[in-house]
């Protein structure tokens, strides 16, 4: 075949398609070449390969210099050596030089143990830092969700690529020159003064401790240690299919039962499930969706379509910043996390006779932006937020490790009732397409008054960045759009804004793959197959559930009967709906 290239890597003869890099060719036969700046999300069209870190250099026979394997394409007859003494010495020098301007505070670094630079230093056997000289000194920048500690930046620019190319948020850029060069914001402003949407994908991408989430484990441990407080926890769907990775389990392992046991061991008084609130979200959002679509079909010109999902805090920040002309388009339904908080601190607290001030609601989220969301003023009552602290999946894993809990040997246990009961529709909230599929299951039955035979809507699933599907509501075609990753969201929204395409409903999630690929999930270090496995695990979890439609959750029915009244009714509006703000004053250019 003329488009195939034959070459030799470490004595293995192989053929790969033209255009393949040495790195990819080596990987295809199981040879791992270390990388640092290289970051690729397979299938998502995102690749950062500036070829600048030089960690992936290899020796090619006939070439005078070592070449970066991430950047160099294979050629016919090429003979590559990936681990010669010359190569190893060069990699050691490269890492040594990187460390010469890197604070050696690994003992207390948030990335300790997960740091790619630390791993390289270990793998290459560095025992001292040979080069000494000037060190970078930058002020730490702390936003409600993200910490930037640029003294640790190694200028790999992965964050810049995801911020600009994947998320099209454009907050980060390489700035200054020479020794002063660093990844920064426009005019070196603080993140809070930029249009940062706090999606946190820069944190997920950062190989070192330069970008990390705000650590709330100490706050939560303090609350757990306070006997006066009732501390309850809710867990997002995507956490249960990723947490196991932090304990050496296979990506996509479903650890729901172990997670519940671990949370009890940590001392949470009640272990509840955000999935319960996801079912509640479907009741509210589904009702709103049906109302808008029905009125639209009846010719009501005041109705704005499509209705858009509003569960994702990164996405909410995104439209508030970049699409202020469309603030009335997304559903007003709060996210499941905030709905949970609102119900826990009213209905549930009243039932148990607990004062709002003595109740601490913690959420475990696959997300970094949730830390910001629970601090939004509109979710506070006299300064007390409906959700006190939001921890990432990684932070939960850390806490489990602090307490010496052997996670993989834990027995399964069940969530507490009533706020822990949920359906299969709720668990797929963590996957791109899942929220709209869950809404479709309920909206279909409410609209057609017919029983849905098959609950799966396969046409809404998948990992393509922008997807469209038409679902037949018993003769009424409902046109649905789905996007994950904010760059994809922008493509879809621009079509809506220009009127090029008309959708009835749109689901958007800020992170690639949806919450399973969230910024608070275990670091995947650019291995997107992990995200795909988590996603598949959520659909397996859904299939294993006895009830798979939100409106059939008996505890949701009870909640409406005892407390809320009607979906989208007066009380529901007060507690479960929100409003949005124009934040476009921070946006220049995009």
């Amino acid at each position: 075949m003329e488009n195939m290239i034959a070459l030799t890597i470490d004595d293995h003869i192989l053929q790969v398609p033209k255009g393949t890099t040495i790195l990819e060719a080596a990987k295809s036969i199981g040879i791992e070449i270390p990388t640092l700046c290289h970051y690729k999300l397979e299938g998502q069209g995102i690749e950062n390969k500036p070829g600048s870190c030089r960690v992936c250099v290899v020796e090619v026979e006939g070439y005078k210099n070592l070449v970066p394997s991430c950047y160099t394409q294979v050629s016919e007859g090429m003979v590559v050596h990936t681990h010669t003494m010359r190569v190893i010495m060069a990699r050691r020098t490269v890492v040594d030089l990187l460390l010469s301007d890197h604070p050696a505070d690994c003992l207390v670094c948030p990335q300790a143990g997960k740091c790619e630079l630390q791993k390289l230093a270990i793998d290459l056997g560095l025992r001292e830092i040979t080069y000494t000289g000037e060190m970078s000194t930058y002020k730490k920048d702390i936003s409600p969700a993200i910490i930037r500690d640029m003294n640790k930046c190694i200028m790999c620019r992965r964050c810049e690529t995801v911020c600009n190319e994947m998320q099209t948020v454009g907050v980060l850029s390489g700035i200054n020159r020479g020794f002063e060069a660093v990844v920064g914001t426009a005019f070196e402003k603080k993140l809070v003064d930029t249009p940062c949407v706090m999606c946190g994908q820069c944190v997920q991408a950062c190989p070192v401790g330069a970008l990390s989430e705000v650590d709330n484990t100490r706050d939560v441990m303090k609350a757990l240690n306070n006997p006066k407080k009732t501390v309850i926890v809710q867990t997002a769907p995507a956490v249960r299919v990723a947490l196991g990775e932090e304990f050496g389990m296979e990506p996509g392992s479903r650890v729901t039962g172990k997670m519940v046991t671990a949370l009890r061991k940590l001392g949470f008084d009640y272990v509840f499930d955000t999935d319960f609130a996801a079912d509640l979200t479907i009741m509210e959002e589904g009702t709103e969706m049906l109302d808008r679509i029905s009125r639209y079909m009846q010719g009501d010109k005041s109705v704005r379509l499509p209705i858009m999902t509003s569960c994702c805090p990164g996405w909410v920040n995104f439209f508030e910043t970049y699409y202020p002309d469309m603030l009335d388009v997304p559903s007003t339904a709060k996210s499941p996390m905030m709905m949970f908080g609102a119900i826990a601190k009213t209905y549930w607290a009243e039932k148990l006779g607990i004062n709002r001030e003595d109740l601490v609601v913690v959420s475990i989220m696959p997300c970094v932006a949730k830390k910001y969301e629970c601090q939004r003023d509109e979710f506070k009552v006299n300064g007390n937020s409906d959700v006190d602290y939001s921890l990432t999946t990684r932070e939960l894993a850390d806490m489990i490790k602090y307490l010496g809990i052997k996670f993989d040997t834990l027995a399964d246990s069940n969530f507490d009732r009533p706020l822990g009961e949920s359906t299969g529709a709720a668990v797929i909230f963590g996957a791109t397409g899942g929220v709209i599929e869950a809404a479709t299951r309920t909206a279909y039955e409410l609209y057609t008054k017919k029983n849905l035979g098959k609950v799966e809507f396969k046409e809404l699933r998948g990992l393509t960045g922008v997807r469209e599907a038409t679902v037949d509501f018993d003769g009424t075609p409902i046109h649905i759009g789905i996007a994950h990753g904010l760059g994809n969201a922008r493509k879809l929204l621009d079509k809506v804004r220009s009127g090029e395409e008309v959708f009835h409903a749109i689901e958007i999630m800020a992170c690639p793959g949806g919450c399973v690929g969230g910024a608070g999930q275990p670091y995947h270090h650019g291995d997107f197959t992990k995200v795909e496995k988590r996603l598949n695990a959520l659909y397996e979890e859904d299939a294993s559930m006895p009830v798979r439609k939100s409106h059939e959750n008996p505890y949701i029915k009870q909640l409406y009967e005892e407390f809320l009244g009607e979906p989208c009714g007066h009380k529901a509006h007060e507690l479960l709906h929100t409003h949005y703000f124009d934040k476009s004053d921070k946006n220049y250019g995009l």
Partner: protein, 160 residues
């Protein structure tokens, strides 16, 4: 220094320069060059407006402005002094010339005197290595300088 206020004339200038460059983000360097030529410098407000015109992130615009030493975010003086630190000038002692300008003007590199008359910057080679060490004031070139000539140059413009 007082904050730069972007008025309609400034905006029109930027719009014109962007249009002349096809309103294309790919031409950002040409645009910034043109705008700085017209406005003298590139304060944050100008960069933000350029970003909006070209539909590109302002962080990227700032990335370029902060990278190239030609671009400046502080207004240059009426008489911009540039001291060449290229190889030839360097070996013939241009650093001493620079120090002398700093001392006499009481400003550092990249700064402007309080009266707005002089600004002091360095550059790498003006293509007149035969005249090293070289200093330019505006368009005028001074060659084969010694530190004792610095006062004379400043005096030339002090009342101009």
């Amino acid at each position: 220094m007082c904050k730069f206020e972007l008025n309609d004339t400034h905006k029109q200038t930027i719009i014109d320069v962007c249009e002349a460059n096809g309103n294309s983000a790919a031409n950002i360097i040409h645009v910034l060059h043109g705008v700085q030529g017209k406005l003298g410098y590139l304060p944050a407000e100008v960069q933000e407006f350029v970003a909006m015109q070209l539909h590109m992130p302002v962080a990227k615009v700032y990335g370029i402005v902060s990278f190239y030493s030609f671009f400046t975010m502080t207004p240059k003086g009426k008489y911009p002094i540039d001291v060449c630190l290229g190889t030839a000038c360097h070996v013939r002692g241009s650093d001493k010339i620079l120090d002398e300008f700093k001392r006499q003007l009481g400003i550092g590199e990249g700064q402007t005197t309080a009266d707005g008359r002089f600004s002091l910057n360095t550059l790498r080679c003006v293509g007149a290595c035969g005249l090293a060490p070289v200093v330019t004031v505006g368009e005028k070139v001074y060659g084969r300088l010694t530190t004792s000539q610095v006062a004379g140059i400043i005096a030339e413009y002090a009342n101009a």
